[in-house]
Symmetry: C2
């Protein structure tokens, strides 16, 4: 849209909104209009919330999670089992596992996956701090909960290698049919993995 | 997500983002993480842009468009033909028509459509101001460019009735096959309208 027809402030808002994941140029325009129309209810609170989050959110120096306190709420929770560390790629994965209440222990956020193509080696990820945590006597199990992608699995293999001498048991998430999933829609790899890992009924 | 696992500032940001059109709870979480990760490049500029837009954007007292000046950039542009007023439902429609460079004249934003169901009558829309503008001697044509929905067409008929005594010609957008559209995917109503309005080749 040319500058001729509307103020540059609106233009700039649309440009920034279009950079968010899930919003293209068209939906960014819709979102901008919606925000401007709902100034008191949405635009001003959102501006304040962004400022708040920007000012207060920090990365946890222990696990790499984000929170408004450091160490993060999970790391400082005494009810969490200190003998288990669940390794994930991103903060979003921590949130997903917490929604499922699937982890009794604590987390470690790698910040990505190894990727020769993108020039991401072990030094670019939070791997040194993971090895340091794994060496502590209280840690008994490391659960590697990375994505089931090529990059994720490469990273998982690398971590397993590195953790061999730490005296901890290393596990990974099970592969199989998603709960609620229909066989007809699943790929061959998942079906083969589910068949191979079949369990007595 | 419970408050236990992350700061309330992040929680509040996610809740507000989820109220934007096109973002559900899952994409709001992704957007929040993306914003927090790109604090300098995205989160802080977006917060400032929202504040700017909130402070400076006003509704044009002539046509109902939004802009940072009143009258809006379009209304004060001397190169615009003052004899043509294009009537649209929402500000987004002005932007769409401007992208298509389809209107030589100026606009009038109704702010919605007549809807008995939602209790929206003529007084809830910018219709009185349209009739006042149409009565000016310089105005020759009113183009009714509302959506081709039942509510849009009801509104168009009402406006045509009201404008009858203003001495202006009233036109509406053509119905037909969208440019690039395939006949096989079009509904019967559109095909019938396109056939009826067929033109010599």
């Amino acid at each position: 849209m040319s500058k001729q027809i509307t103020g540059s402030e609106i233009e700039r808002l649309i440009q920034l909104l279009a950079k968010m994941p899930g919003l293209g140029p068209r939906s960014a325009r819709r979102a901008a209009l919606h925000l401007i129309k709902n100034k008191d209810r949405l635009l001003e609170p959102l501006s304040a919330a962004l400022q708040d989050a920007g000012a207060k959110v920090v990365e946890c120096s222990v696990c790499g999670n984000i929170d408004t306190v450091d160490p993060c709420t999970i790391c400082r929770d005494p009810r969490r089992d200190p003998s288990i560390i669940c390794v994930v790629e991103e903060v979003g994965d921590v949130w997903a596992l917490e929604r499922a209440a699937a982890v009794k222990g604590r987390y470690h956020v790698l910040g990505g996956t190894l990727s020769a193509l993108d020039g991401i080696g072990p030094d670019e990820l939070n791997i040194a701090s993971l090895l340091a945590r794994a060496a502590a006597s209280e840690v008994k199990e490391i659960i590697i909960a990375v994505n089931a992608t090529v990059e994720g699995q490469t990273t998982a293999h690398y971590l397993t290698d590195q953790l061999r001498d730490c005296g901890v048991s290393v596990s990974r998430l099970a592969h199989g049919v998603p709960v609620g999933g229909e066989l007809d829609y699943l790929d061959e790899g998942t079906l083969a993995a589910a068949m191979q890992a079949r369990r007595p009924f």
